[in-house]
Symmetry: C2
Subunit: 359 residues, 2 copies
């Protein structure tokens, strides 16, 4: 079993080798940890800054055994880690975080909304449907227009469709592949916000200031943080974050996407049991960023401070936008964070910049 | 030959695998570079966060050829890189930085002081001696007490002796191994300061605020930055730094150790053609730290801003002082930087902390 708090010099395991894993690995290195990355691709953004890359699928027993031999604490860069992988690691004596409940809730949009509502974190009205017939009758209850999403998988706007008329629900169900879906009433929101929060193994929590987020084509384009919000919104968001952290007995950093309604109430759009794109501003806007915070939490260390030290505009660099690096490097207020991805496919997150202004 | 500015995704070579190489590698990764470390030890602090470790001696032709095959730009974490290694790399088409003159000057305390004085950067009075007889006559000119140091090698107080009486000079010469030495008049200083400065490939310079430094047993204990200095001292230091950067046609970050005399003049103690322990405060005290600044300079990128955003007390963690990590992790104002060294030998630099205060 792991010695906690995990001493520097120990190896931290990370499942997933993308940019979130890379930035987690860099934060872990700063605290004196070695990192072992489990990833299908031998040449991954995270693997190239880690002491060890284990090449394998996420439920590959031999690969998980290798990871367990190196790392007594393992975390993940994404929410779709198979529950089986976590069970295997735990059976090998590894401490995994965030926990199985957080993954289960984040992997199923219906379970997620049920958890949120049961814990006093409000969401839009929703209904589940496993068949075209159920989709039609659920649509009649929710009313159109509505948003239909696959219950599982899907990210950055993939796996979802707008349904303009109740009668279109069966066709939308078929178009999404005939898999179980969730139907969601639209949120009449004026703004998308998010809050990044952390909970340590001792139950202590740390919550960052809110970010205001702008998406394009389902992909995050920019975040402004700390968001310009009154104390009412900030308190609502912190209360929601605290309920989620407590309800899941969470360990690590969570990203909570919020809708600000016209009447000033906040609804939870979704939760991501990991470091989150809308928290990248903390790298240059806070003394302890979300990546170090996550490492601290899963390693059983005390959490660090979360106050903002600068106002940040975070811009994602998608696809060939990363080619502007030379121009961006000339801007004194701009901090570059590039992920080392080999190919700039359209829409692919290649890096981001944090543009700094005084608080 | 290297394409400059070096595009993200390229591999940056670093000779030396210690903590300075590690922190350079982490900064390079943030900018999207891969890193290749050349180091004798297969399991080094820098190698564990780099995409490639090439195990070999610094003049090992096969190892240097491997490095050149990966990296079109190579830099160093320490000043005692053999000139032959640089020549071999250059013959293989690699851009190396800092340049050969900077290394030559930094490797020979006499050449260093001659360069400094020729460029209007004042030092203590000094004389060279290759024999015991020369040491005696030089001591008679300089006067005792004086400090005798080997011309080459030596760091953290090693390779030097105080000579209390002129007649003791021959014995001191023998005690230092009978190798060429430099004799230095003592500096009647009230304070030790340092300045970290950078010069880009385009000749642009960027200079950080001064740090005040406290040594114990020849090893840096703590730095306070920005140092509490008036505009006279700051201007003197900036002028000295600019002369050094220009005189060496320098590319990269340089650390300049200074003595503040009773009369308010500054003398240069020594220069280090690399990132420097007294610049670690910039990691949490500036938007762009000395490590990213060095990477930017050697990669041909524009330099970043150097203004302080916080007041920092940097404390080195020597030997088993690093065992206090759990206590230090609890301090909200304390940022930890641990190096991943396997063994905490007495006096060994295992990590440092930056304690933050508002400006």
């Amino acid at each position: 079993m792991a010695t906690l708090p995990l001493p520097p010099g120990s190896t931290l395991g990370i499942i997933g080798g993308g940019q979130l894993g890379r930035m987690l690995a860099l934060a872990a290195a700063r605290l004196g940890f070695d990192v072992a990355v489990l990833e299908r691709d031998a040449d991954s953004p995270a693997g190239r800054v880690a002491a060890h890359t284990i090449v394998g699928g996420y439920t590959d027993r031999a690969a998980l055994a290798q990871l367990a031999a190196l790392a007594s604490v393992v975390t993940y860069e994404f929410e779709n880690v198979p529950a089986e992988a976590v069970r295997i690691l735990q059976s090998l004596g590894v401490e995994t975080a965030p926990g199985a409940q957080a993954l289960a809730v984040a992997q199923d949009r219906v379970a997620e909304k049920q958890f949120l509502n049961a814990n006093g974190a409000p969401t839009v009205a929703f209904a589940a449907a496993d068949t075209a017939e159920e989709a039609l009758s659920a649509a009649a209850v929710i009313g159109a227009p509505l948003l239909m999403k696959t219950r599982r998988e899907g990210y950055d706007g993939k796996g979802q469709r707008w349904v303009e008329h109740v009668a279109d629900a069966a066709a939308a169900f078929a178009a999404l592949g005939g898999v179980p879906v969730i139907l969601e009433a639209p949120a009449d929101f004026v703004r998308e916000l998010s809050i990044i929060a952390a909970r340590g193994r001792d139950g202590a929590t740390a919550i960052y200031p809110l970010a205001e987020n702008h998406h394009e084509g389902g992909i995050l384009r920019r975040s402004l943080a700390p968001a310009d919000v009154g104390s009412n919104l900030a308190e609502q968001a912190e209360r929601i974050a605290a309920r989620i952290l407590g309800g899941l007995e969470y360990v690590g950093v969570v990203g909570v996407e919020l809708f600000e309604l016209r009447d000033g109430r906040l609804l939870v759009n979704e939760i991501a049991p990991r470091v989150h794109n809308t928290g990248h501003w903390t790298q240059d806007g806070c003394e302890v960023d979300q990546f170090e915070q996550h490492v601290r939490a899963v390693a059983g260390w005390p959490l660090g401070p979360t106050a903002a030290i600068a106002r940040v505009e975070m811009l994602n660099l998608l696809g060939d936008e990363v080619d502007a690096w030379a121009k961006l490097a000339h801007e004194p207020e701009t901090r570059l964070h590039l992920y080392g991805k080999r190919e700039a496919k359209p829409g692919r997150k290649m890096g981001h910049v944090n543009k700094l202004k005084p608080l």
